[in-house]
Amino acid sequence: MKSENYIKLEFPSKSVNEGFARAAAAAFAAQLDPTLEELGDIKTAVSEAVTNCIVHAYPDELGRISMRLRIMSGGRLEIVVKDAGRGIEDVAKAREPLFTTGGEERSGMGFTIMESFMDKLRVRSSPGRGTTVTMLRAIKPRTGAR
């Protein structure tokens, strides 16, 4: 698939970077002329994916998180969030609503929200080696401008 534009970012798993990651994703996606709602959906999904890395991939240490955004033909946005942390034993279980290993500070709704705000969500994980979350979202062209 032809990539029309992309960015790649890497940052340590500090929670202060959650806000940075979603703002950076929104700033890059802005060139697709998304609605406020689409922009909010992108920010929310990125926030969930990056928070998962910080809480679950690197629970006791700082690790590297990489985020790649690609704009593809037809105004489709691909977001890839990748870590090299401890991985997920049972991805199907982790994707179930309300399932969490994060205690009462977490709601267990992260994957559910990514799923409902994006058109596609793919989770690849191998225990001890890390997790890659890939999300796709089509941004509808608005009438008039463009």
Binding site: E18, E37, T44, E104, E105, S107, G110, I113
Partner: protein, 106 residues
Amino acid sequence: MRISTAYDAGKLVIRLAGELDHHGAREAMREIDGLIDEYLPRDTALDMEGLSFMDSSGIAVILKTDRRMREMGGRASVINPARQPLRVIDASGIDRMISVKGARRQ
């Protein structure tokens, strides 16, 4: 994340403003707990009109506030959620468990 309050006749309104994510959630919950201890309200409403962003960390804060209020025989609710927090609330389905009022769905 900024927090302010109003209290009247057993009802505590906690206004959340700014962005509520995992980074700020622990501090927000600590402050909310402190306010509930201080006022011992019958009902607590989380006013989300000024909340420009919230992710599932906000859902955990809402659920924890509700648990806390139920332990005291009271209730928690969400009022005036802005559009983005409302989409997260809708996607999570917690409005089946907790009252959400004053939402502008248009």
